[in-house]
Homo-oligomer: 464 residues x 2
Amino acid sequence: MKNSYRVKNKLTLLIVITFSYLGFAQITDQEQIKKIYDTALSQGKGYDWLNYLSNQIGGRLSGSIQAQQAIDYTKAQLDSLGVDEVWLQPVMVPKWVRGTPEFAYFETTPGVTTNVAICALGGSVATPQQGIKAGIIEVDGIEQLTVLGKDKIEGKIVFFNKPMDPTLINTFSSYSNCVDQRYAGALEASKFGALGVIVRSMNLRLDDFPHTGSMSYGDQLVNERIPAAAISTNAADLLSTSLKLNPEIKFYFKQNCKQFDDVQSFNVIAEIKGTSKPDEIIVFGGHLDSWDLGDGAHDDGAGCVQSMEVLNLFKKTGYKPKRTVRVVLFMNEENGLRGGNKYAEVAASQNEKHIFALESDSGGFTPRGFSFDSTDKDFEKIKGWKSLFEPYLVHYFEKGSGGADIGPLKNEDIVLAGLRPDSQRYFDHHHSENDTFDQVNKRELELGAASMASLIYLVDKYGF
Amino acid sequence: MKNSYRVKNKLTLLIVITFSYLGFAQITDQEQIKKIYDTALSQGKGYDWLNYLSNQIGGRLSGSIQAQQAIDYTKAQLDSLGVDEVWLQPVMVPKWVRGTPEFAYFETTPGVTTNVAICALGGSVATPQQGIKAGIIEVDGIEQLTVLGKDKIEGKIVFFNKPMDPTLINTFSSYSNCVDQRYAGALEASKFGALGVIVRSMNLRLDDFPHTGSMSYGDQLVNERIPAAAISTNAADLLSTSLKLNPEIKFYFKQNCKQFDDVQSFNVIAEIKGTSKPDEIIVFGGHLDSWDLGDGAHDDGAGCVQSMEVLNLFKKTGYKPKRTVRVVLFMNEENGLRGGNKYAEVAASQNEKHIFALESDSGGFTPRGFSFDSTDKDFEKIKGWKSLFEPYLVHYFEKGSGGADIGPLKNEDIVLAGLRPDSQRYFDHHHSENDTFDQVNKRELELGAASMASLIYLVDKYGF
């Protein structure tokens, strides 16, 4: 008996030691995070997924066939990961269609014309079938409309040419500082009797790509709405110079875009159930819709595949989350945010408890860090994790907004966060035909996914 | 008298206060550095210079006409900056010429061939005129030659296929870990009776570009030297897979590169003399030569124009350095380091006192920081400046090497430093026909130049 007892005891001890050792080895944060990065860089699936989304499907404007193909494809890929649940969340989305390619030129003297690259802004009305030809007046932002007044604007096309500020290090700040001319330029100019608006592309680079993006007429009557188009930065500079030489230039443009009735679409959702706290939800995602000009590789195919990759990395590294981790590929961020709103609405109606939401919607570039919308107390906790990311050259942990799609989840109990990749090249591509798969670097994409997975791992482990 | 004295005194006081205030305003480090970054991003000249070097001149292999054109062009541009002195420093350089395009295929069964993309390694001998056709044996790095031995290698072509490790965050570390097979593979394999070597391109990405680079025969007799070529990563994977199915594959390659006698060339040098300590020299530069396949935009046109830009930024911001600041565009870094050696030799012979040397030779990507080869004491001082760079997202200040060209300056009195841009994309381009101007982002290039200028400003102001 005694001997047997001893043997048992020794065995128990051995088992305890062994398990402790294994347990310890498995939960060292440095080690788990290294496993995540190593796996992303050597066995990541995101780049192949993005290749398919970009090159087999292409631009995924809300309500388009491509958007539906992307829903079907990503759902099938998420199914293949062997996670606990994958489903589609119905949401009605707006359907805007560009129609045939836009056409524009300016005329310095009758018969002497120069073609310029334009594209309709998303949500714009068409021009009359024969196009619009009128005098054109340049303004340096919306504020200048009031200075000029109805006298100078009525019967003309307004050319919004406020450039992005090149001296701001974060290019999203430059974007924020002048995107109002794109979003509200047509509405505001119409109040002064303008016939249409042409807006300098939101692009820091001089090139020939016009960049589309959302615009709004607010609740303006349909018959008062005027058409709006973006012009490439090179063409904007040329037009501006030409106007200085000859203010009498006439501008012509034609576009036949159209807004249809809302159509059925879906958010794509997949999750791994938490082992010990399944009711606490950690959500992360990007938006599956894109503009129609490029293939939406950076905006936001990258964010979608990085979010899907988080589940893949947890599976591949054998990490079983305590809390429920859920990826959402939101539909219709670009021109309506219907997916983000629907997700938050359903979450609220089901009393789901979200503790953390992370969005990747700033391009598939080298990750520099994260921005956090949180209480000071939670932010202090988060900053305690910062040194774990330094070996991966991820240094930026600052307060800031999370992302458009997760914004509707905001309440006092949730921490919102955004992945912050290097922003220098983003607006070279954003919303233009230059947003294509070949402009995404595999390693940069994978490092972003690994950074997201590492942060989610820490949130899951330590909570808030 | 009394009154007049008082007035004078007040005037003096006013003048002193005014000058102190102006002086203070001008020398606030934050302000000067912001001026430098703002100027680089809004009035930088580097991108236009690089456009000319890349698209009007092209690849600048040592001893080529293009290398001489680049010397003439950069000297003229430096002259136009209105600095104190611009001169050419003579240096003899090796002249290696690629000849007609290389050709290679592998033959799985007689008559069934697959063409593969190769390029001669820099410094390689030609194949015999009819090419070399032989069995091919794959090895995972130089170490494996000894394991296989003469029996398995003699009469064959050796295929070095050790890949770069994707899990290392700094891609230069992956490069260092396997570049020996490119540099010394031919010399080592010839000792086992190999007829030639084919080396997997130093590229983390799977693509179709073969990447050249330097190799050496040491002091091997000319008639014992065997030819060496790089093969693209896609072709390397295909060849490796095919060899697993059929180890009897024959490989054919032909190249007619040639080493000529040394020719005259130059380092291009320009400086602003220091106002109070002109004998203390701060030197910075890149290398003006490049490989011949692309146009050498990242390696190292970027480093050259960033270094030239430092002088431009000091001129444009009105900063007058206390010490002498000198740019050197080194010749022949790629296949000889003759320019770097010559510069150090002349500096020593003239008893010049260099206190700091900074090289940019890691591509024109977003700057992440600097590496420093210095004493601990100097490094502590440098780390005190780190927070000044954080608004520009420049966080990496670590001990490490400076750069190849400035290496020969090393002694106990000098601090050597290297600009460390984001390294993820570098080896997609390095030494291949894919190293072209269109792959350089203007802002990323300018941010690197501003980071260099800011560091040089601090070294000039505070010394070591």
